[in-house]
């Protein structure tokens, strides 16, 4: 009757899956080539630069460890863009949510001190960081849903507000007067530091990142909540006909995204910084936006993209030391990757070879 076997009905759309792998890879390759041109102009041999990047990022186990340490917060901040994107929102408040999460986690950690076992303190810090980051991004979601304020702009502005709040706190109420290098909060009690995974230098934050990305994937793909979010993101009119609570979903998914970035803030203060100061604002938030776009907002792909970008960030020092390239070179590379990936977004469905059932 259908002229099709049941088997054909159940066939998986592998061409489209292939497309969503091939296009980011092509975009990254293009970025590498353009970056090579940039290096050549700056007087370095592109191929040697590629070699150094590879060596510094993935060449040895110690390089891998460095890369993974840098990728841990990226996995988490990326979700701050990736999750709301499933609902059709473009949130770029990752940096702000990370800062707020770090602040809340630190306040909790300092407040609890050693009154509780370290694991409990760390859990409390994580919970506080997630709540703070979540509420921060939920604010952008609420402005969007109730007042129609563009969520991209509001979340961007919230970044500046978060950083200003942090500066105010470390220069005032939270300042540790005995620490003179730069205005900072007191140090987290060493008992509460997030330690390293046994046998490596990598802190447990990586585990947080991996687990949260996996959970996010399951949430989006395998739960009614994720299904509902995808309906709202795909067609809000259809969502309304299905009676879905669009407002609640918007707030919930913004909260979840923000809480992932907030957790990244907790990881950074508990595992790396140990104090709150300007160094908490280290571009993990903005790099997370890039990771989210490279991974096309798929939380599993986010893990890979975060490791890749972590590697690029890890190679920053070597570019300066062995090729005499300026410090900001990795940022240039990051920017080129971003542009190439954004451009590649416009190419989906344009190549006949990837089109469902064509050719």
């Amino acid at each position: 009757m259908l002229g099709l076997s049941q088997q054909a009905l159940l066939r998986l759309p592998w061409r489209r899956s292939l497309e969503s792998i091939a296009l980011p890879v092509i975009a990254l390759t293009a970025a590498l080539i353009i970056f090579g041109g940039f290096c050549a102009m700056a007087g370095a041999n592109p191929f040697q630069v590629y070699g150094s990047i590879y060596k510094a990022a993935f060449g040895r186990w110690s390089a891998w460890q460095h890369t993974l340490i840098l990728s841990a917060p990226l996995m988490l901040t990326a979700l701050c863009t990736a999750l709301p994107a499933r609902l059709g929102l473009v949130i770029i408040g990752n940096e702000g949510a990370l800062v707020m999460g770090g602040l809340a986690a630190m306040a909790t950690g300092l407040g609890l001190g050693i009154t509780l076992p370290p694991l409990m303190v760390q859990l409390a810090m994580a919970a506080a960081g997630m709540a703070a980051g979540g509420l921060w991004i939920m604010l952008a979601g609420a402005l969007r849903y109730y007042r129609g304020v563009n969520e991209t702009i509001s979340s961007l502005l919230l970044n500046y507000i978060a950083i200003a709040i942090m500066n105010h706190l470390v220069e005032g109420p939270m300042r540790d007067a005995s620490f003179v290098i730069k205005p900072s909060s007191a140090e987290l009690d060493p008992a509460n530091w997030l330690g390293a995974i046994p046998g490596s230098r990598i802190h447990f934050g990586l585990l947080y990142g991996l687990v949260v990305c996996l959970l996010a994937y399951v949430l989006i793909q395998r739960t009614p909540f994720g299904f509902a979010a995808r309906i709202v993101g795909g067609n809000i009119r259809a969502a309304r006909i299905a009676g879905l609570p669009v407002g609640k979903l918007t707030l919930a998914i913004c909260f979840l995204g923000g809480s992932a970035a907030g957790l990244a803030g907790m990881v950074e203060v508990a595992a790396v910084q140990k104090r709150i100061n300007q160094s908490l604002v280290s571009n993990y938030g903005y790099a997370g936006i890039l990771v989210a776009f490279v991974s096309r907002h798929n939380p599993l792909a986010t893990i890979l993209a975060a490791i890749l970008l972590g590697g690029i960030l890890a190679s920053g020092g070597i570019l300066q030391r062995s090729h005499n390239l300026p410090d900001a070179t990795v940022l240039v590379f990051q920017g080129i990757v971003f542009l190439c990936v954004l451009y590649s977004e416009s190419l989906y469905g344009k190549f006949p070879c990837f089109r469902e059932g064509e050719g």
Binding site: L12, Q221, G234
Partner: protein
């Protein structure tokens, strides 16, 4: 600019449009053959109708001609010359233009701006004075007349469709392809549009390839007809030599005369849906629904007739949960109803809105996922409240695809790849397959469907009614309402201005009320 010369009002007789031959076109999507060696000829200065069931391959055929799709095999000839058409732009260069089922104009811009925008040879600076002179001259000798200065958003559906056609004529198309141009129009508007095109065709200025599901239009306006069945050529010939029955038989492969299900007398009549003094606004804030009061009972089909744009769409949107009412109450089974998912489920309320792809589907999601829109949070599709059982979703979809003959390459195909009629069937399967439906709200449920599907839906609606479902149905097709409804109402300017049991309905008065008298 040569436009001025060509568009001058002096009736310069243009040379006749080229003859279009489609020769042995085959189009495969993966292993699925959408077109199998189809040939046809569009003679200069004629209207050629393309008929076929939903999913027969009509749109695919014209998309091959337009260069949207690259045919797997076969050729397109223009005046016997092999023509390579790789994109709609190439097609335009050959003077072939197409009007789609959906509107493609920019609503916020005026008619003139839309016309200029549609041109391929965009200039950096637009000389509006000159453009307006040329547009004026063009309008003066075009078959339709639309005020150039009003924004497209303010045009009625018929006007918008005329604008789409005008756009192609403005681009100097000599061969016009229309894909179901009339399914968004009332019969009156359709006759007007096709009649005006017909007069242009008779003067040998234009050839038209017309896809439609309406035999009436074929008989009234077309010279020749080509009939497709499951991607194969099923018949061809002059319209005057063919009866409606003969054409229907070629479309279906058999004399498919589905038995209409008879309406049973209702057992009990309890009110299901009560609308009390309901008001709602249009998108632009002006009132659309103005004080509607209405009750729909179990086992009854209530039909609302009216010319489009009189508030029916907004009324349906309020009932379906897509629009907020300004004042008034909706009650279902005596309880206040706000269209939340929980209420929809508790009262078993379903909806068949018009334009299903825009209103009731997620275009990027698969057929199976779209079929699960109502049920994904209910067992067996969800376990332990938090785990989707994808297998259960696929199983249900597989059953629905079979039961409703949805033609789709696979369950995983994004629904936007399906033919118009098959999108409609997908939504229909989702909304009326449940045994427990209590209230169904339908708006123009048969737009864009072939006649066998129309019979299928009509029967499904009557069957639901016989089971005790309360059905509220808006339609711009009066005949449809007269044959299905138990009670008919007329909506005009946001108010219900006529009500009658169907056996006492007075066609004359209905017509007057629809026209606003």
């Amino acid at each position: 600019m040569d436009t001025l010369a060509q568009l001058s009002p002096t009736p310069t007789r243009l040379q006749a449009p080229p003859q279009l031959d489609v020769v042995d076109i085959t189009k495969q999507f993966g292993r699925f053959t959408a077109l199998d060696q189809v040939s046809m000829t569009l003679k200069p200065g004629s209207i050629h109708a393309l008929l076929g069931e939903n999913g027969a391959g009509k749109s695919t055929l014209v998309k091959c001609v337009m260069g949207f799709y690259k045919p797997t095999a076969g050729q397109v000839l223009l005046d016997q010359q092999v023509s390579i058409i790789n994109s709609p732009r190439d097609a335009h260069a050959y003077g072939i233009g197409m009007v789609y089922q959906h509107f493609t104009s920019v609503p916020a811009m005026t008619v003139a701006e839309n016309l200029v925008l549609s041109r391929y040879d965009r200039q950096t600076v637009i000389n509006w004075k000159q453009e307006f002179e040329q547009l004026g001259a063009f309008m003066a000798q075009s078959p339709f007349h639309i005020d150039l200065t009003i924004p497209v958003a303010h045009l009625a559906a018929g006007q918008k469709q005329k604008l789409e056609i005008l756009k192609q004529l403005y681009l100097k198309c000599r061969i016009l392809i229309l894909d179901e141009p009339t399914s968004v129009l009332t019969p009156g508007e359709a006759d007007e549009v096709l009649g005006l095109l017909r007069s242009d065709v008779v003067q040998d200025n234009l050839s038209v390839l017309l896809i439609t599901h309406k035999f009436r239009e074929v008989q009234a306006f077309a010279d020749e007809v080509t009939i497709l069945r499951k991607g194969k050529l099923a018949g061809q010939g002059a319209v005057k030599d063919l009866t409606v029955n003969a054409m229907a038989e070629m479309m279906l492969g058999e004399a498919g005369n589905a038995k209409a299900i008879a309406k049973l007398p209702p057992e009990t009549r309890t009110p299901v849906l009560s609308i009390l003094n309901l008001h709602a606004n249009r998108d632009n804030g002006l009132p659309a629904v103005r004080g509607v009061n209405l009750t729909v009972h179990t086992g009854e089909i209530v039909g609302i007739a009216g010319v489009s744009g009189n508030g029916q769409r907004e009324l349906v949107e309020v009932l379906a949960g897509q629009r907020q009412s300004t004042t008034g109450r909706i009650e279902v089974n005596g309880e206040s109803y706000r269209g939340t998912r929980e209420e929809m489920f508790r009262h078993q309320v379903y909806a068949l809105p018009e334009e299903p792809l825009r209103n009731a589907c997620v275009p990027t999601m698969s057929v199976a996922e779209n079929m699960a829109l109502r049920t994904f949070d209910q067992p067996p599709q969800v376990k332990w409240r938090w785990l989707l059982i994808l297998k259960a979703i696929r199983q249900m979809a597989q059953g629905l695809v079979k039961a409703f003959s949805v033609k789709t390459p696979s369950l995983e195909t994004p629904i936007s790849y399906l033919s118009g009629g098959n999108v409609q069937r997908t939504v229909l399967a989702r909304e009326i397959s449940s045994e427990s439906v209590k209230l169904l709200i339908a708006a123009n449920p048969c737009f864009g469907l072939d006649f066998s599907a129309v019979d299928f839906i009509h029967n499904a609606l009557v069957d639901a009614r016989n089971r005790g479902v309360a059905v509220l149905m808006m339609s711009e097709d009066l005949d449809e309402l007269l044959s299905l409804a138990d009670r008919i109402l007329v909506m005009s300017d946001g108010e219900l201005v006529y009500e009658s049991e169907i056996d006492q309905a007075d066609l004359g008065i209905i017509g007057q009320r629809m026209a606003g008298h």
